[in-house]
Symmetry: C2
Subunit: 261 residues, 2 copies
């Protein structure tokens, strides 16, 4: 069995965000599976080795790619961002567990990439500089009540939150309800970041507060970061403000107390 499946993280959008490891992995692949816009980034649209499919067909896409790899081919499965964060690596593992024994014998490699939240955070400072959670707002694969519970406990425990899949045509109300519920536990001035197309030429960072944030400020290409009570905004002349979360909890500033050890 010489087949290989390589699940490759392309990073948040543009080639400069790809790792050398991802570039090397692309070079050795016989086939390129993935959601069209991701495949478009790195494989010419006329290349016969492309096999693109819709965003909602992860299971079928993974099975097809595994079956092809089991015939001895080297198959690349392309993911935006990091393949392990709300992306294809988990879908592939699911299918390996359910599929024929031969799929367990394949060589599976996962090539990590810069996840959208890291690019979004870098674009505005360091909002993820302290403990944080990454939560998908999509209730396609879990009940909404569970998502609300996670949002509320993480906010209540002082974690910053990176919200993936905040909104789509098929899921228009979830982000609005999430913001409403968070207003019940976080103060109105809590910082909110809408990072659209982070890492792409059309990147747009919109800074807001929990009080003022509206769901319409996000679309499918947006990563939303909800600050904690400690997340801070630093104004800068002639430049966008910096948003960051201090490394220390209140009362634990190492330079104020000399307590670092």
């Amino acid at each position: 069995m010489s087949g290989r499946l390589i699940v490759i993280g392309l990073g948040p959008g543009e080639v400069p965000y790809m790792t050398a490891q991802a570039v090397d992995a692309l070079a050795c692949a016989d086939w390129f599976y993935g959601y069209g816009p991701y495949v478009d980034r790195v494989v010419d649209i006329n290349d016969p080795r492309r096999v693109v499919s819709d965003n909602r067909e992860e299971g079928a896409r993974a099975r097809e790619a595994l079956a092809l790899a089991a015939r001895g081919e080297c198959v690349a499965m392309l993911s935006g961002g990091d393949p392990g964060v709300f992306a294809m690596a988990s879908a592939v593992c699911e299918q390996i567990e359910r599929g024929p024994q031969a799929w367990r014998e394949l060589s599976l490699e996962v090539v990590p990439g810069v996840s959208a939240m890291l690019a979004a955070a870098a674009a505005c400072g360091a909002p993820l500089g302290h403990d944080f959670a990454a939560i998908s707002l999509s209730d396609n694969l879990k009940p909404w009540a569970l998502i609300e519970r996670r949002l509320l406990v993480c906010a209540g425990a002082g974690l910053v939150m990176a919200l993936y899949n905040p909104i789509s045509k098929a899921r228009p109300w979830q982000l609005g309800v999430a913001l409403e519920r968070l207003r019940e536990v976080l103060s109105p001035g809590t910082l909110v970041i809408f990072a659209r197309a982070a890492g792409r030429p059309d990147e747009r960072i919109t800074l807001s507060t929990l009080e003022e944030a509206r769901a319409e400020q996000a679309d499918m290409a947006t990563l939303v970061i909800i600050g904690s009570e400690e997340t801070r905004r630093v104004e800068r002349p002639g430049q966008a403000p910096l948003i960051y979360t201090p490394r220390f909890a209140p009362g634990h500033d190492p330079e104020a107390t000399g307590s670092q050890g």
Copy 2:
């Protein structure tokens, strides 16, 4: 004011994990600040542009670098992994907020990188494939009670957890206590991953369970992942098992129910 400070994420260890953007940023820098082992990766040990300092001197290092940038230089601040996750980007923002007005006028860029948890997850499958939290176990900058609370609420809400800074000579007991507390809320078979030096040639992944995990299995170079109740282990003949967390919550398997939409 032409000074620039670029906070660069080098990724988890080896040059193949660096992005092209990070390589470009290194090329334009006049100075390289950072913790010695990170600087060693990309700047020759005899290069006079190196300014290395100890792991615990983030504040002073950031101030020095900012002061140099304010004199018009292009200064690189090097971070392992991603600079925005328990690393230098937040320390730099803290100092900009506290420092002279001139520091707010500098050009600050943060170049994201593959964070240790992403490399660790990629090395064993997709354990971070569902909602998760990233929590530092260091109680240098926050009270231990807060860390415990965060661990317990995240575990209770079904989040996988990536634990940074799990143990060090100065903090020998924290991971052991964390595992003990987690045993009170998670089942004994909950999967635990010790990912040492993820992404480096000496990478070592050790799979365990909450019941069997011992703090001595980790050191300063280890990232610990605590699975949720849903995290699964798939045995493979002649290869390490795959560890992954399904994208869906129990009862929401899209292929069992046809409920994906």
